[in-house]
């Protein structure tokens, strides 16, 4: 769905299921990986240890926190935070 260009006059849906589907979710996780890997042209992401605190404001599920903690690089850590379910919906 393009931002600001909703075609139906009824406007954007305000239900959660209209904003997520299988393909989109995979796309978001891959976007998080590319973003954290500085593969998005013109964008540089400062990957840091405190990503959970800065991006997610510390408000994350235990599983997300422990999964991120197991990441083997800062880039992966950042990607696992930005692609996490906790970051998809605030």
């Amino acid at each position: 769905m393009p931002l600001y260009q909703c075609q139906p006059p009824t406007g954007y849906q305000d239900t959660a299921d209209a904003w997520v589907n299988t393909g989109v979710l995979v796309g978001r996780m891959n976007f998080a990986l590319r973003l954290a890997g500085n593969q998005i042209p013109g964008v540089t992401v400062a990957t840091e240890q405190s990503i959970v605190e800065t991006a997610l404001n510390g408000d994350v599920a235990d599983t997300t926190r422990s999964t991120i903690a197991k990441a083997t690089s800062r880039q992966q850590m950042t990607a696992l935070a930005l692609g996490a379910p906790d970051f998809q919906r605030r």
Partner: protein, 317 residues
Amino acid sequence: MHSRRVFLKNGAFALVSLGFAPSFLARTAFAAGKAARTKQLIAIFQRGAVDGLSVIVPFGEPDYYRARPSIAIARPNGGDGSAIDLDGFFGLNPRLPPLKPFWDAGQLAVVHACGSPDSTRSHFDAQDYMETATPGVKSTPDGWLSRYLGARHAEAATPFRAVALTQQLPRMLQGRASALAVNQIAQFGIRAGRSSDRVGASFEAEYAAAADRVLNGAGRNAFDAIKMLKIADPAKYQPVRGAMYPRSPFGQALKQIAQLTKSNVGLEVAFAEIGGWDTHVNQGAAQGQLAARLDDFGRAISALVVDLGIAWPTPSS
């Protein structure tokens, strides 16, 4: 708006070009659903409104030639660029010979001169009406293919029950029934180089624990789909029986539909689209923009039918 539908009869395989008759389609598919094996519906959308009179040419109608002095397709047997006779009155566009064998075998049906009854001149609205199947009503939230999926009982729905070979989920498939948009099935998955498997497993763990019902469900679906594709490996299914898909995006989309079908991932509804039909003054006749689109269209569909090796019943009449 000129529009027209082409169906390959039998219900195992129905082709839809620009047109409006979902109830007819649903009946066909429902009737077919009684058979033992899972029936599959492949919907093809020709975006931009194809000119039906140049595709299925009414060469037996003198007014056709009077009304179209420059872009009419010549009567059959008039040399290069003349129509391919079907029934003595209608003929195929000369760029569609790949479809002729299906007509001869009684496997191809044409529903001519039917379309949306709404006379809007907005292409966007007209297209939306085709996809929602509610001409004149803009507020319909879902597409007809999605409603069809909702109405049809799924024995064991997989994440590949409904797949659009497109970048974005078409309006036709938007709605309550889950559907997947994948442009390149070979590239569907978590892409993190050599760490792909490990990172994928990490994401999977996060989503499996997600408290949000929608994210949890979509996440489970996503990882199920990725695993199924990895096991089924659709790319290993190369075209058989000499099927030659055009290298065009449309040809490649249909090839992937065949690969998904052969890899038994539970595909029930597939969607592909082909654009460039809004030809305006560049339409041409036996040559031109329309002819080039039809060439791609006919060859791709023919390749799909041959590749799938659909067992056609003998026509009863």
